[in-house]
């Protein structure tokens, strides 16, 4: 596992993490990992969930102390005890979930913690403001310093985070999964910004599992797998398939195999659905109408927060409709209780598996029967039939390959995200639904689990079920769906054919730049 062969004489590294090992009880999170970031380069850090990326970054920020290994800054060994040490060394990070104060302006957020204070403890914002504007012009980071965070787009929020790092004169910039929340156009802009920053001498560490983006923007790429260091490659020397094989340790089938489509009857019919928003004082879903037929996967695409969640809440009964009508199998279910909808054949893989999908402190078996515990098989005279519950849970665990520490009695909280999701998918699919509503079913999962869940969803469609898939992932939308509906600000602004459309076209709809003529 040598790193020395990549080192060239006379070359300088901005930061080096050499032979880092960090153990937790029962697991080695980082096993002899070496990461060397050259000055002025964009270096990608690639790995599945649980590969050890977060642990490595926590070590860099002093949140964990490694058992073995050293960290060097500009060739000198440094000791990082806490995040303040990391800041002092010029290391900054844009987190996947932004750390911004919503009700503050862009400028206030940028100076937060390093406020320029004058006499009598008064803030001196004029100076700071000038510097922020200079920085934003220098690197092409367009922001309005006086706009409130709650009023600006996600892309602009991210640029605010980048300016925060630059304002603190950080030299080493870490981007943690920065593209997850962006539209394709915004992703292109971000890539350009990253190139500008690198050209100005900043060193960038780009954490991602999106291969295409790594190939597009990174100079080199280090790959981690299950806590181990797999290697560092020049991106121009490798293909996407090679990178992917390094990441998962085998060849992954990127394309979902689908049988020819046999579309049947209308299963779900939504007419003029309007759902109120809890976040703003208006409607999150505005007068939406569509149909889903048996044997097709209809995908609701869009950027997070454009009414997709509320649409699903309205469909599944978690929120009442302001107006409109929902029909399942030709029957009006607009005001039907959730339990009755579910019994009628509605299955729902919820967006947030921790909030809605699971009772985390229940055992796996109790969660597996969450939608069936009231059926005759599982209780008698009000008493639970634990034997039948165990048998049923064991069957699903076996059939859907749900892995956990102690099988059926494992507390769900102790399971990995992927296996928690598998348990939900198993529970919802095994009920033999007529309509499967799957909301971001692969969020936060690794490539192997994603592949598995896509297969299950497609199998449902092939079996003649109607599937409504809500996804924020462009690749997922294009790969899995038979029909795409794009949502923007609570309305369906376009219907696309995944075989004919391009990511660029979809992006225009998703960003509201384009819409179908009414």
């Amino acid at each position: 596992m040598g790193n020395d062969q990549t080192r060239q004489p006379g070359e300088e590294y901005a930061i080096e993490m050499l032979h880092i090992t960090k153990r937790f009880p029962g697991i080695i999170a980082n096993d002899d990992i070496t990461l060397q970031l050259r000055k002025g380069e964009i270096h990608a850090l690639l790995g599945e969930n649980g590969a050890g990326k977060s642990t490595l970054m926590s070590v860099l920020f002093g949140l964990y102390q490694p058992e073995e290994g050293i960290i060097k800054k500009d060739g000198k060994v440094v000791k990082i005890n806490d995040p303040n040490d990391a800041n002092a060394l010029g290391i900054g990070m844009v987190h996947q979930h932004f750390k911004l104060v919503e009700c503050f302006t862009v400028l206030d957020n940028i100076i937060l913690g390093v406020e320029p204070v004058g006499k009598f403890g008064l803030l001196q914002k004029a100076e700071a403001r000038k510097r922020v504007i200079e920085l934003s012009e220098k690197y092409g980071l367009q922001v309005d310093p006086d706009a409130k965070i709650s009023d600006i787009t996600v892309g602009m929020q991210q640029r605010t985070e980048i300016l925060k790092m630059l304002y603190r004169d950080n030299e080493i910039l870490i981007f943690d999964e920065p593209t997850a929340v962006l539209t394709p156009q915004e992703i292109d802009e971000l890539m350009q910004i990253m190139r500008n920053l690198a050209a100005e001498g900043k060193s960038i560490l780009f954490i991602s599992h999106k291969l295409a983006e790594i190939m597009a923007v990174a100079d080199r790429c280090s790959v981690l797998r299950k806590g181990k260091y797999i290697g560092t490659v020049n991106t121009k020397d490798v293909t996407m398939e090679q990178l992917s094989a390094m990441m998962v340790g085998r060849n992954v089938n990127f394309h979902v195999e689908k049988k020819p489509q046999h579309v049947g009857d209308v299963i779900l019919k939504v007419e003029g659905m309007t759902v109120a928003s809890h976040v703003h004082h208006n409607n999150a879903v505005k007068n939406v109408s569509f149909e889903v037929r048996a044997g097709e996967i209809v995908c609701i695409a869009g950027i997070d927060g454009n009414g997709q969640s509320e649409l699903v809440y309205g469909l599944t009964g978690l929120e009442p409709l302001v107006s409109g009508k929902v029909e399942l199998l030709g029957k009006d279910i607009t005001k039907m209780p959730i339990r009755k909808r579910n019994i009628m054949g509605l299955s729902h893989i919820p967006e947030d598996r921790h909030k809605h999908g699971l009772v985390l402190d229940y055992s796996l078996e109790n969660n597996i029967v969450l939608q069936r515990y009231f059926e005759g098989d599982f209780n008698k005279f009000g008493f639970l039939n634990k034997k039948n519950i165990r048998e049923y849970a064991d069957r699903l665990i076996e059939q859907y390959d749900i892995r956990s520490g102690q099988g059926a009695v494992t507390i769900s909280r102790a399971m990995s995200g992927g296996n928690q999701q598998k348990a939900i998918v198993a529970r919802e699919i095994d009920r033999d639904p007529k309509l499967l509503v799957a909301v971001q079913p692969t969020r936060g999962l690794d490539v192997g689990a994603i592949e598995y869940i896509h297969k299950q969803i497609v199998a449902e469609r092939d079996a003649g079920k109607a599937v409504l898939l809500v996804s924020l992932e462009m690749d997922e939308v294009l790969d899995v769906s038979d029909r795409i509906l794009v949502m923007y600000e609570g309305e369906i602004v376009g219907e696309l054919d995944p075989k004919k459309t391009t990511p660029e076209e979809m992006g225009l709809y998703m960003a509201g730049a384009k819409r179908k003529e009414a």
Binding site: I338, R341, P350, H356, V359, G382
Partner: protein, 386 residues
């Protein structure tokens, strides 16, 4: 990672250990207070409290006094079940006190005022407690009123309402109601009483075991039975499954079609009913009468919170913790009143209760300590881990 210390990680073992630790710390601080008041007799005094009825030399007196402790354990157990049942469903029932008061008012009025026999009196106590509980539950479920706030307010409402109602059956020569063995009748326009033994809980011969302590009877086995019943309800039944799911994650409960709102009302009604029957278990023995002039909510309901936590929030654990708390409370009466105020036992039980607040902290510390030990072990193994 299966080490031999893993038995310390078992929740039941951790609960037991931490509860014992709370008791020890409580007694220790209580002892320190006794030392400060009067160092000479402190050691003896703390032993007196711990020994309670064992202070008496005659076995017969011991048994009789143990019976008295048990008589007050039954209502305490009911209040702690009330608290822990609601707690398992994610609600903090600080209103057990008020529900207990409502139960007391209902059963005393039905017995002394209306001359009913014990069973309907007890049922009325359950219903009155359940009604007060359900009120808090409904306010929470349909109006999103925090149950702690509504419970505290209902505690006072119940107290003064019950004081007012029970003034109808008050002994004119004292602040107390008439004994439970009497009933009020009107004779020539004046209030007087006649004997009415039917309202007293049956003794079932259990009193014989406690040197004919006439207050000992049905209440004690019934309380234990109910504790087991609550345990079964929570862990073995469909309703318990639903209620616990609602308590642990109301969003998931709603998602899978459980009636989250009516579950909250039902939970509080059951909790209230438990506190209500607790009151019936005490006042229908005739052990004490209601003081119609009391201006503080009886401590029974609040002690129930302590007993619930000390018992590790387990219905069967509550049986033992209730007995223990009652035991040392009664033990306070054994002190030499000239040297120590008898409130010292209240102080100790409140100290224990106070330390119970750290139960979670103790558990976390224990787990952390175990983790730390493991990590050290692993580090010592070093390279062999690879």
């Amino acid at each position: 990672m299966r080490n031999k210390d893993s038995i310390l990680r078992k929740p039941a073992v951790q609960s037991l250990l931490t509860s014992l630790l709370c008791i020890l710390l409580g007694l220790l601080v209580g002892f320190v207070v006794l030392l400060i008041i009067n160092p000479a007799g402190a050691g003896e005094a703390i032993m007196d409290i711990i020994k309670n009825f064992l202070n008496y030399s005659k076995p017969a007196t011991r048994l009789k006094n143990m019976g008295n402790t048990l008589v007050k354990t039954a209502p305490l157990l009911m209040c702690s079940l009330s608290v822990l049942f609601a707690y398992k469903v994610g609600l903090f029932n600080i209103g057990a006190a008020g529900q207990y008061v409502a139960g007391a008012g209902a059963c005393i009025y039905c017995a002394v005022g209306l001359g009913w026999s014990w069973l309907p009196c007890m049922i009325m106590a359950v219903l009155a407690g359940a009604l007060v509980g359900a009120l808090s539950g409904a306010l929470k479920a349909y109006r999103n009123v925090n149950e702690v706030i509504s419970c505290i307010m209902l505690n006072w409402i119940s107290l003064y309402l019950v004081n007012t109602i029970l003034s109808q059956v008050k002994n004119p020569t004292s602040p107390y109601t008439y004994e439970i063995t009497k009933k009020v009748v009107m004779e020539n326009g004046a209030m007087t009483t006649v004997a009415h033994p039917g309202a007293v809980l049956p003794q079932l011969g259990i009193n014989g075991l406690f040197n004919n302590n006439k207050y000992v009877g049905l209440a004690i086995p019934l309380a234990i039975l109910l504790a087991v019943g609550i345990w079964v309800l929570l862990t073995k039944t469909k309703l318990g499954y639903e209620l616990r799911a609602t308590g642990l994650n109301m969003y998931a409960a709603k998602y899978c079609g459980m009636q989250d709102r009516s579950n909250i009302v039902l939970t509080m009604a059951i909790a209230g009913g438990l506190a209500g029957i607790g009151a019936a278990m005490l006042y229908l023995t005739g052990f004490e009468e209601w003081s119609c002039t009391q201006s503080s909510v009886p401590a029974m309901g609040f002690n129930g919170i302590a007993a619930a936590f000390l018992g590790g929030l387990h219905p069967l654990g509550a049986i033992f913790s209730s007995f223990f708390i009652q035991h040392i409370t009664d033990g306070g009466a054994q002190l030499n009143k000239q040297v120590y105020p008898s409130e010292i036992s209240n102080l100790i039980s409140s100290l224990i209760i106070y330390f119970c607040g750290f139960v979670l902290f103790f558990k976390l510390t224990l787990t952390k300590w175990l983790n730390g030990r493991n990590e050290k072990k692993n580090a010592a193994k070093g390279g062999s881990a690879k």
